[in-house]
């Protein structure tokens, strides 16, 4: 929960007038470099203090580390480790600070390391790890004490495609286990797949927030793009042009459907039903083609989604 929070680094704006309430589930923070994602997460976890406003996480203040540190896990972007440490010793050293006994520490560390797929490399020195391995061992540390809230700053950075898929599956699993997961990323299409809620940031401001589909609907000035997979797309296209809300209809490059842009999605669906009933066209699928974080981000901020 952010209440009118601002953070300035001297004269430089970190975030400004942010009021946010993040729901349970998986929340994505999306924005280009310098948007304020890391500032927001560092504020949330107490690593930095707000210049103005108030922050609480599940009713806790970050100023109370003895409670806060137990219930919150943070995998930050800081890619540094104590000198000479192995992956397992790194996680063990962290768990020892929770007051756990030796056997419990071993068990929890092994469990967390296994969840991130680092069991085989756990006894090697972190200095010899690849960037992806370092990322995963930090993730293991963040989940090792079984937090209720997991905060992840660009957790997919440095991971190869397979490891990314594994990490996203892990986030989803953690979300299903009841954890609140807050994840920042610039890899839009990947976090989009696992997110329940999205916060779009630009230049220190929250430009949109909400369930991804709700945010997309709010972007009324940009027509929604809908993919219709069907037989005889030309027949369907001719019928769709009768709708005033239909802005553009393009035959899909593979000839197996249409890409339709409409200003009124419900009206489009009614019209589509009518055409299908009248013409007997077989529909394979109807799905939003730009109902994702990337499209919303591009509409709202005008940034190139390849670079954010």
């Amino acid at each position: 929960m952010f209440e009118d929070v601002s953070k300035f680094y001297g004269d430089v704006l970190g975030i400004n007038n942010v009021t946010l309430s993040l729901p349970p589930g998986i929340t994505s923070l999306v924005g280009p470099n310098g948007a304020g994602k890391t500032t927001l997460l560092n504020l949330m976890t107490g690593l930095i203090r707000p210049s103005r406003g108030r922050i609480s996480v599940a009713g806790m203040s970050p100023d109370d580390p003895e409670v806060f540190g137990r219930r919150v896990g943070y995998c930050s972007q800081f890619d540094a480790f104590p000198a000479g440490v192995t992956g397992r010793a790194f996680v063990r050293g962290w768990l020892h600070l929770f007051g756990m006994g030796g056997a419990r520490v071993e068990r929890e560390a092994a469990d967390a390391i296994e969840r991130v797929g680092m069991t085989e490399a756990a006894d090697r020195k972190v200095a010899g790890y690849s960037k992806g391995m370092r990322q995963r061992i930090r993730l293991a540390l963040a989940i090792s004490h079984r937090p209720e809230i997991l905060v992840l700053d660009e957790p997919l950075n440095g991971l190869d495609p397979l490891a990314r898929a594994d990490a996203l599956a892990l986030f989803q699993a953690l979300g299903q286990e009841g954890l609140h997961v807050v994840v920042s990323s610039h890899i839009l299409h990947e976090v989009d797949r696992v997110s329940d809620y999205v916060v779009l940031l630009s230049h220190g401001y929250v430009v949109a927030e909400g369930p991804i589909h709700g945010v997309r609907t709010e972007v009324t000035e940009h027509p929604m793009q809908i993919l219709v997979r069907c037989a005889r797309p030309h027949v369907l296209a001719a019928g769709l042009f009768a709708g005033e809300h239909v802005v553009e209809v393009k035959v899909h490059p593979d000839g197996g459907g249409l890409l339709v842009r409409t200003r009124d999605a419900p009206a489009f669906h009614r019209l589509l039903n009518q055409i299908v009933l009248e013409s007997g066209i077989e529909l394979e699928a109807v799905a939003p083609a730009d109902d994702d974080v990337g499209a919303v981000y591009q509409y709202l901020i005008g940034a190139d989604t390849e670079t954010v």
Partner: protein, 281 residues
């Protein structure tokens, strides 16, 4: 309730904090002792014993009074004024500052550990390191200074030598405490310690000629009354050795401990406001 929360509830707050102090203390010792860059510390502390050993091998017809004055100069002017000062500067400034430079401080700040616990544990680790190294240096200097001639050996075994050694070791330990606390607190205020350290060094040096109430704000003010042998206040050295208004030994010890405690309280207050923002460094 998660499993880790149960551990906290079972352990109780104070036993848990003590365990955390122990873990952070051990972590800190591991950090400082494993680093090659800290080899300068024993070099600094053990260079006088080497010089004194050379002196012992070459000296003949030594006089107890002269050797005692040489040792007093080594300990008062070299150890207490310079070596322990710079040793503590290097060790205590890096307790927190080193973790900022290595970008690992956030691990401690994200753990369920009060920041005061972090300060205390790090201070204890720094104190153990400096007291051990400089205490050993002082002991070796003392032993080598008196062991090489009969009158010196008698001074240690049957004379006041043992009391002198205890006093030097106590002064050395208290210097580590006082300078250590001051530099730890300083590291939480400034990133670059060079200018403040020079100001502090000058302050400690000229403190003897300042008004009494200002003298009380220095570490050396409390150390002087504990030293068993007074150096003759001659020439430039007078600035460093004169005691304008001697303080009883018990008051010097409690005064320095109170000074250390006050500075540590300030350090605890300061670290609670410390932000982890490595990119701004």
């Amino acid at each position: 309730m998660s499993a880790s929360l149960l551990v906290a509830a079972d352990a109780g707050v104070w036993p848990l904090r003590l365990r955390q102090v122990w873990k952070v203390f051990r972590r800190e010792l591991g950090r400082s002792h494993s680093a090659w860059r800290n080899l300068w510390l024993p070099f600094l502390a053990f260079s006088p014993p080497f010089i004194i050993a050379g002196h012992a091998l070459q000296a003949s017809g030594c006089e107890l009074q002269e050797e005692t004055m040489i040792l007093a100069a080594v300990i008062q002017l070299f150890y207490l004024r310079v070596t322990i000062f710079f040793g503590c500067l290097g060790i205590f400034m890096r307790l927190v500052g080193g973790e900022v430079a290595e970008r690992t401080l956030h691990y401690l700040f994200l753990a369920p550990v009060r920041r005061e616990v972090v300060v205390l544990a790090k201070f204890l680790a720094g104190t153990l390191t400096t007291v051990t190294v400089f205490g050993t240096g002082i002991f070796l200097s003392f032993a080598l200074m008196y062991a090489h001639f009969p009158e010196g050996r008698a001074f240690v075994t049957v004379g006041a030598g043992a009391a002198h050694l205890r006093a030097y070791l106590l002064a050395g330990a208290l210097a580590c405490l006082g300078y250590g606390a001051a530099f730890l607190a300083l590291s939480l205020i400034v990133r670059n310690a060079i200018v403040p350290a020079i100001v502090f060094l000058v302050w400690e040096g000229v403190n003897g000629v300042l008004p009494l109430w200002l003298q009380r704000l220095s570490v050396t003010h409390y150390l002087k009354p504990l030293l068993p042998a007074e150096l003759p206040p001659e020439g430039f050295l007078a600035l460093f050795t004169v005691v304008a208004e001697p303080t009883p030994a018990w008051m010097a010890v409690t005064g320095l401990l109170a000074f250390t405690a006050l500075v540590l309280v300030f350090a605890c207050w300061r670290i609670r406001r410390l932000e982890v923002s490595y990119t701004a460094d």
